[in-house]
């Protein structure tokens, strides 16, 4: 809709030659970005490419060293979030900026309160405006509902409502679909198209190539702080974009080859477990994982996957049911016992459970084996052996670091995850449990980790893969179990699975009931 042949209207937003330096890095190097009214403009780039810095500049959270921001052709200085909002810029953050215990109305009002007088809120007027806004965009929303009880898709809508309530003309969405099911993504896309049609300008930040191709009018690709290309969806494809984004040819979908499943290694039967609050979140789960196959578990976050994995690996006491490894009952065995029985585990949260961030990479690499030979002799650790093997691992797993003795906290997310993978994969395994193995990683690291997983499968390891990224589950799994409300509601064949069908199962558990699900809580990260 924005043909460069007729530049009659000034761009709603123009960022011209933005440079932002941080000690040691140039986060943004002369970035120029133009967004026209009614345009959906995608900003594509890997993690650390400078997307967030650029948006922080726009939102007044960072002051650029060079360059300027123009709104409707006028140069402006944006002093901070409040100023940005006042100028009609609103941001929907990747991690929702919603307060779970407050109501929808309170969340929308916050910071831009509709007042009855100087001191008190005008709730009735606020409710009226929210309901009216909802009608305009074709969905009904209950202003009195607690945000924490809404599904992730609805929370996303509340975020967009927040922006609209402030009469935002420019809407920045940072990875808005990261946690949504395909159906929810479609619904949000419909909302975005409607907003664009009403003349809003939308900046859509993402690293999901097919989504960008689907929704954007124009795509700007940035790499290492620089704009490396601008495309229209019609002129490009996923491979082209990936290459631009990474700077080399990338295999987006790892060739999974043919699997040769053998006898079951892991047998889970009637497993039941509760979460930290004592709510029963795993309600009788049965499945098998065979040697040499990848069994994927798909599901919207918060449907019991975390507790299921923890119950298997010995981090959570199962309330009922059994876990059998190679015919031996290992229910309730400790993580170390399982580790010694050749079970490896890559936890979902690498910062809290995968690594000890203030420790060196070398120490992190021996977290599961530091107490035994060759890394320990009696009560003492063998530094030499630890350092020697750390060097090899760093090379073999391409962990980019100046030294194996650097702290794990100094690594980028992708390299941190490679360190976890190096520790867990680098030995003979019977069972490999992966919980969100590529969450938040860039395509290069994802490719690397996926290759390693396939290699493990081909070596005859049974792999259990849990991921909220449906694409990841579809790309890797030989069989897929869909988890919903604490149960595996269906098991489908991996290579032939239909994305929409699985997505629907994830969202509804097989029942066609689209009401908001209270078990999908907006928990604090």
């Amino acid at each position: 809709m924005t043909d460069p042949a007729e530049p009659i209207v000034a761009p709603a937003l123009e960022m011209r030659g933005i440079t932002k330096r941080y000690p040691g890095v140039v986060a943004n190097d002369a970035i120029t970005l133009e967004v026209h009214p009614g345009e959906i403009h995608a900003l594509l780039g890997e993690n650390g490419a400078g997307k967030t810095t650029l948006m922080n500049v726009l939102y007044g959270l960072a002051t650029p060293d060079e360059g300027e921001v123009l709104l409707n052709g006028t140069p402006v200085k944006i002093a901070g979030p409040a100023d940005a909002i006042a100028r009609g810029i609103s941001m929907v953050h990747q991690h929702f900026m919603l307060v779970p215990v407050l109501t929808v109305a309170e969340n929308i009002l916050l910071g831009e309160e509709t007042m009855a007088n100087r001191f008190f809120l005008d709730r009735n007027e606020a409710h009226r405006r929210i309901i009216e806004l909802g009608r305009r965009f074709g969905f009904e929303i209950d202003p009195e509902a607690k945000v924490g009880s809404l599904s992730v898709g609805w929370q996303q809508r509340v975020e967009i409502f927040k922006a609209l309530y402030r009469n935002a003309k420019i809407l920045v969405l940072d990875e808005p679909t990261a946690v949504l099911t395909p159906q929810e993504t479609e619904e949000i896309f419909a909302v975005l198209r409607r907003l664009a049609a009403e003349g809003h300008s939308i900046v859509f930040i993402s690293h999901k190539l097919y989504e960008v191709l689907e929704i954007a009018d124009r795509i700007t690709v940035i790499r290492r702080g620089r704009v490396v290309g601008e495309r229209k969806p019609a002129e490009t494809n996923e491979d082209d974009l990936a290459e631009l984004m990474v700077g080399r040819e990338v295999q987006l979908v790892v060739d999974r080859g043919v699997s040769h499943p053998a006898a079951p290694v892991l047998h889970v039967q009637g497993l039941t477990a509760s979460d930290d609050r004592g709510q029963l979140t795993v309600r009788g789960v049965d499945f098998d994982v065979r040697a040499g196959e990848i069994f994927g578990i798909a599901g919207v976050a918060g449907n019991g996957q975390d507790e299921l994995v923890e119950a298997i690996i010995g981090l959570r006491k199962p309330a009922a049911g059994s876990v059998t490894l190679d015919g031996k009952d290992v229910t309730g065995h400790s993580p170390r016992q399982l580790n010694e029985a050749q079970v490896a585990y890559v936890p979902a949260d690498r910062h809290r459970f995968g690594l000890i961030l203030p420790f060196s990479i070398a120490d992190n690499l021996v977290l599961t084996s530091y107490y035994r030979s060759p890394y320990a002799r009696g009560l003492l650790r063998d530094r030499e052996a630890i350092d020697r093997d750390a060097k090899t691992s760093v090379q073999r797993f391409d962990i980019r670091t100046p030294s194996p003795n650097a702290k794990a906290s100094t690594l980028s997310g992708g390299n941190q995850q490679k360190a976890v993978v190096a520790r867990e994969f680098d030995r003979e395994l019977k069972l490999l449990i992966l919980d969100q193995p590529t969450r938040g990683l860039d395509v290069g690291s994802i490719e690397f980790i996926h290759r390693q997983v396939i290699a493990k499968r081909d070596a005859g390891t049974a792999v259990l893969l849990v991921s909220a990224e449906l694409d990841e589950v579809l790309e890797l799994s030989d069989r897929i179990g869909v988890m919903y409300g604490g149960k595996i509601v269906a098991i489908v064949d991996g290579p032939t699975a239909d994305k929409n069908e699985v997505g629907l199962l994830m969202a509804t558990g097989g029942e066609r009931d689209m009401t908001t699900e209270t078990h999908v809580m907006g928990q604090t990260a």
Binding site: P81, M91, M97, V99, G111, E112, L121
Partner: protein, 361 residues
Amino acid sequence: MDITALADGLYGIPLLGIVFQIVGFLVDVIPSNAPNIMNQSTPLALAALCGVLCERSGVVNIGIEGTMLAAAFTAWVVGVAVNPMFGSPAPGPIFGLTIPLVISLVAAVLVAVLISTLHAWLSISLRADQIISGTIINIAAFGVTGYLDQLISKSSPAGAGSFAAFTPPTELTNLPVIGWLIAMFLNQGPIAMSTIVIIIGGQIWLFRSRWGLRTRAVGEHPRAAETVGIDVIRLRYRNVMLGGVFAGLGGAWLSIEATNSFQIGMTTGRGFIALAAMIMGRWTPIGAFGSALLFALFLQISQLIKIAPPAGDLGTVMSSVPAQLWDALPYLLTIVILAGVVGRSIPPAADGQPYEREAAA
């Protein structure tokens, strides 16, 4: 039907009888002691409100105990110093109000706000550990007030004077059924009486005002609040400092309303009990006030049992329990509540976490 016979019958059944007697005892003593219970709950309610203000915005303040103690000392010492300057005026017609007393009260509040500001600076700006900051305040307040008190006591000063309770007309307090409630709320000194207003105001403030909404948001998810343009740091400062006002009033109550004296460590853990009341009241002003009343009731009962134990089996049982155990009752109740026996109470999610701004420009 003869109720006495029924009552006697119930008294006869062992466990049920005890319960029945306890209820009977409470129904008997609560109305007559209501003004006292309300009065005793004043410092707890004010300190708990201070806690609500701080914690709802995400700052843990265990220094309330020390803040109150310092305020109590200030009120008394300023009263002692200022009273002669005004020629030791006779108590005024309402509340025994005199200019020196008002000056003492203002001084107490100022000192409490000052100490709260110190806590705010340590825990918000310097991002120090909030428990340690609070502990420092408690230890310092105890030490400094104790030392100064000893110095001043040597010259055996005249009293600071104290507020008097308002006496509502007997026509009102003698009304059937509600008379005791009127006495409870009106037969009070100025600090106790205003506590009721402050608590109700606090409740409305927290849930109906812009400041209250922002407070709740900042205590739960400060980053979310900042992204909509709210100054998290400033709001936390304001809340902690306003909290100091209420801790100051609570402290002044101890030395110039409830008594006309200062004793070393005279807060006797009220600042901590108040935190328990805050938790039990689920971080709401009215809930905290209700809990404070409950604590005060226990305090009162422990006194009554020593002075006038109830008649019958219950009295025999009660007076056979060592008096010290009854004194410990409110504190035991605190432990039970903090251990989470009385329902689960979820604190604000960002409670106690220092906030760092997203990006330094």
